[in-house]
């Protein structure tokens, strides 16, 4: 027969489980801060990449093509291949890091190709604003902040960044033809 042990529970003075509860509460803050900085690093890296992507897309838009629509399509294709899943779909490449927000183009969400917000082809000061811009939204905090269904904003831990690249646009072949036809052969270096 083994020895018999009698346990006496005194609930009032027991500190059993205190460290567990303290750990559980503090881990929210510790991991919240840790993942905030990890997420921030991802966002900054992605932002750097998006600057390059809009520049490459603006180069495709700048290069002359058959028509202006052709130039826009090429710019969108470059952007889609770089920041979206490209040939597979127009879904975001890394939706956990950033998703396209707004934009004029319905197929590549977040992208706008063509004239910018102040673009005016008749004004010398504002005719340069042609190119590509891409807007994306990122979650800053891993823990959900704010009430569900709220509009994404800084108060709900969301950052919205816009990358712009205004390289302009070379005249398309059709543009060239229409100008040359008006000159009626007086000056015609070909298109």
């Amino acid at each position: 027969m083994g020895s018999q042990k009698i346990k006496i529970f005194t609930r009032g003075t027991s500190e059993s489980g205190q460290s567990l509860i303290e750990f559980a509460l503090s881990i929210l803050l510790v991991f919240g801060m840790l993942f905030f900085f990890i997420q921030l690093a991802f966002i900054l890296s992605w932002g750097n990449y998006v600057q390059y992507a809009t520049f490459m897309s603006a180069r495709a838009y700048l290069s002359a093509g058959t028509t202006r629509t052709d130039q826009e399509a090429r710019a969108l294709e470059v952007l889609s291949r770089m920041v979206k899943q490209g040939v597979i779909s127009n879904a975001d490449r890394f939706p956990s890091i950033a998703v396209g927000e707004g934009g004029d183009d319905p197929t590549v969400k977040g992208a706008s190709v063509g004239g910018g917000p102040g673009f005016n082809p008749d004004s010398y000061d504002l005719s340069w604003m042609q190119g590509v811009r891409y807007t994306f939204r990122s979650r800053l905090f891993v823990l959900p902040i704010g009430k569900p269904g709220k509009v994404p904003a800084a108060s709900t831990g969301q950052a919205v960044l816009t990358s712009e690249s205004w390289l302009g646009r070379d005249p398309a072949y059709r543009d060239c033809l229409s100008v040359m036809q008006q000159l009626k052969g007086q000056i015609d270096n070909g298109c």
Partner: protein
Amino acid sequence: MELKSTLVSESGQAVTEYVLILGIIVLFYGGLMTVIEKMNLAERLAAPIVGSYARTYKYGNPTAKGFDEGTPENHPRAVIGGKVRLFINPR
């Protein structure tokens, strides 16, 4: 002599503790979110990123404004009432 009592049985204790701790964490999280929302803590923490950093990212200047924000100010290229400039140059 062997004592057997249902009072000292520890069966199900882990589950009960798990549920209790989960309740405490959920309550704490709910309270934390309320405090964060009331103090606009998320807005304050995110302010440098959605404010000066966002403008630097977009225009290359933390104090710049573009056409999206109304009238351009300190914009690297848009100069209202003057000529366009191609580079960020001191004025």
